[in-house]
């Protein structure tokens, strides 16, 4: 298995008391999969994502990627945040170039060329010289996506990347992310609290619930590559997930529609 999460617990100390942010989470992810971590705020989605990305270490349990234990962030995996994480003092192009700067084998010209390539891929080639602060939220997130792609990562982690965008921009970016994920063949782990977004994007939806944060259910979305938000199957799946959030007992873990 490509990414293997087994019996992970994460316990924070809050006001001197232990607080269980993740309880006994186990999950396997295959290469090239698009996984959505779905759940209400506070259920530990970010905590789980950060643990897989290496920003946080689990209190117990193991996370391995390609057989290697995750202990710290790796340049081979890139995280995209809700508030973009662009450096305002750099131009758009220089922000994208950051992805390659620690690779000494790439000279300046090549770096700029590759960065521009991915900026063009997200439709922002003409904004290379602009300052990030002058772009709209959607454009800034595209820059962050271009930067992530420039690093040529194996896994892209996204923590509610579209959460701050208006509905139309959001749908456009969902399509772009899907298109790019397929063409670039990346493994994507995508955090969201929006059921529709999860069903639209994911190969599998990991449904999480809070207090303590745990995986309630994992649903395989078998709706094919081009999804219609209004189709009966799509709506049924949304309702199913909605029902899971309102249920008391734990659902059977692997689950297919």
């Amino acid at each position: 298995m490509y990414i293997s999460i087994s019996n992970v617990n994460k316990i924070y100390t809050r006001k001197g008391r232990p607080f269980v942010a993740l309880e006994n989470v186990s999950l396997d992810i295959e290469r090239g999969e698009f996984i959505c971590l779905l759940g209400p705020s506070g259920c530990g989605k970010s905590t789980l994502l950060n643990a897989i990305a290496g920003f946080e270490t689990p209190s117990s349990g193991r996370i391995t990627i390609d057989g290697n234990l995750v202990t710290r962030p790796s340049r081979r995996n890139v995280t995209i945040f809700q508030n973009y994480g662009l450096l305002p003092w750099r131009s758009v192009l220089k922000n994208v170039e950051l992805a390659l700067e620690s690779d000494r084998s790439i000279d300046r010209g090549e770096r700029a060329r590759r960065a521009l390539h991915y900026l063009e891929l997200v439709g922002l080639g003409s904004f290379a010289a602009a300052s990030p602060g002058t772009l709209s939220g959607g454009q800034q997130q595209r820059v962050a996506i271009a930067r992530a792609l420039t690093a040529d990562p194996e896994i892209i982690f996204m923590d509610e990347p579209l959460g701050a965008l208006d509905a139309l921009t959001r749908m456009k970016l969902q399509d772009d992310i899907l298109r790019i994920q397929r063409s670039e063949r990346k493994t994507v782990i995508f955090v969201t609290h929006d059921i529709e977004e999860a069903v639209y994007l994911a190969d599998r939806v990991v449904v999480m619930t809070p207090n303590p944060g745990m995986v309630k259910s994992v649903l395989k979305v078998e709706l094919g590559p081009s999804r219609d938000r209004t189709s009966a199957d799509f709506v049924r799946l949304k309702e199913r997930i909605f029902a899971i959030f309102n249920m008391k007992e734990t659902y059977p873990i692997e689950y297919t529609i």
């Binding site: 890139v78 450096l87 700067e101 300052s131 602060g133």
Partner: protein, 272 residues
């Protein structure tokens, strides 16, 4: 069509240097007008002799006199040299140390108690030591300016680094920005706004202490000119000197603000 299209006019360099805008120009003129009027009236009705309480006109004549004999220029040069040496070295060292100490929090905790102990001590208190060790000359004033300039910049750099939004650090970590590179790629630009605030504060303080330093430990400079004018009972030169000190301080401050503004704009940190 193009001839009546409104072209945005940017205030010119000169106006910016003095921190003036067209709207506030009237207030500036009025403000100095009131100062002169109060001063002049005070000098005339106080009954104190002109030798002790010079009028604006007498002060202006004294100013012309010290410019004509070249002494003012010499004093300004001497002061500016000391100021540049003391202030620039203080800023450079304080920014570097501030970034390092802010980044490695353990270091800061280790030195902070001592810093807090030394900070409230007026730089002037060090003067006897400095004069005894280095003698009279350029060094005492430079050291005083250094001490006065160092602490505000150091503390604002430390605070700047500690207030950097975590997301920049995560991005840096994620893209493998190295231990040394991170200082100029992330830490300095990300804390620049706060560092610049400290530098502005330090500039004002250091300029104040330049005069103190030169009054005690030097044989030239604008501070020394104060002592010299007093010894010669030339209160008109004294007043002229004070006006020059104020004016240069104002120009330095405005120039710094302008430079800061340019960098902030270039780095997209203005938040317009």
């Amino acid at each position: 069509m193009s001839d009546n299209f409104p072209v945005p006019v940017r205030p010119g360099l000169f106006r910016r240097l003095l921190g003036l805008r067209l709207v506030s120009l009237g207030y500036v003129v009025a403000s100095f007008g009131i100062l002169l009027a109060v001063w002049w009236t005070g000098a005339l009705i106080s009954g104190v002799s002109e030798a002790l309480f010079p009028t604006p006109l007498g002060t202006f004549r004294a100013l012309v006199e010290i410019i004509a004999d070249g002494s003012l220029q010499e004093h300004i040069l001497a002061s500016m040299y000391r100021f540049a040496a003391g202030f620039l070295s203080a800023v450079l060292l304080a920014v570097i140390l501030g970034l390092v100490f802010g980044w490695y929090g353990v270091l800061f905790r280790l030195v902070n108690p001592v810093v807090q102990l030394l900070r409230p001590v007026s730089p002037i208190a060090w003067m006897p030591f400095i004069v005894l060790i280095f003698g009279i000359g350029d060094i005492p004033a430079i050291v005083i300016i250094f001490i006065a300039g160092f602490f505000p910049v150091f503390l604002s750099s430390v605070a700047g680094v500690r207030n950097i939004p975590g997301i920049y650090l995560r991005v840096a970590r994620n893209f493998g920005v190295g231990r040394v590179e991170i200082f100029w790629k992330i830490l300095f630009p990300a804390s620049f706004t706060q560092i610049a605030g400290g530098i502005r504060l330090a500039l004002g303080t250091a300029w104040v202490f330049l005069v103190c330093g030169e009054m005690v430990g030097a044989q030239s400079g604008l501070g020394y000119l104060i002592i010299d004018a007093r010894n010669n009972l030339r209160c008109d030169i004294l007043a002229a000197d004070i006006a020059v000190i104020g004016l240069i301080g104002l120009i330095l401050n405005s120039a710094l603000e302008y430079g800061e503004h340019l960098i902030l704009r270039k780095w997209g940190l203005l938040g317009e």
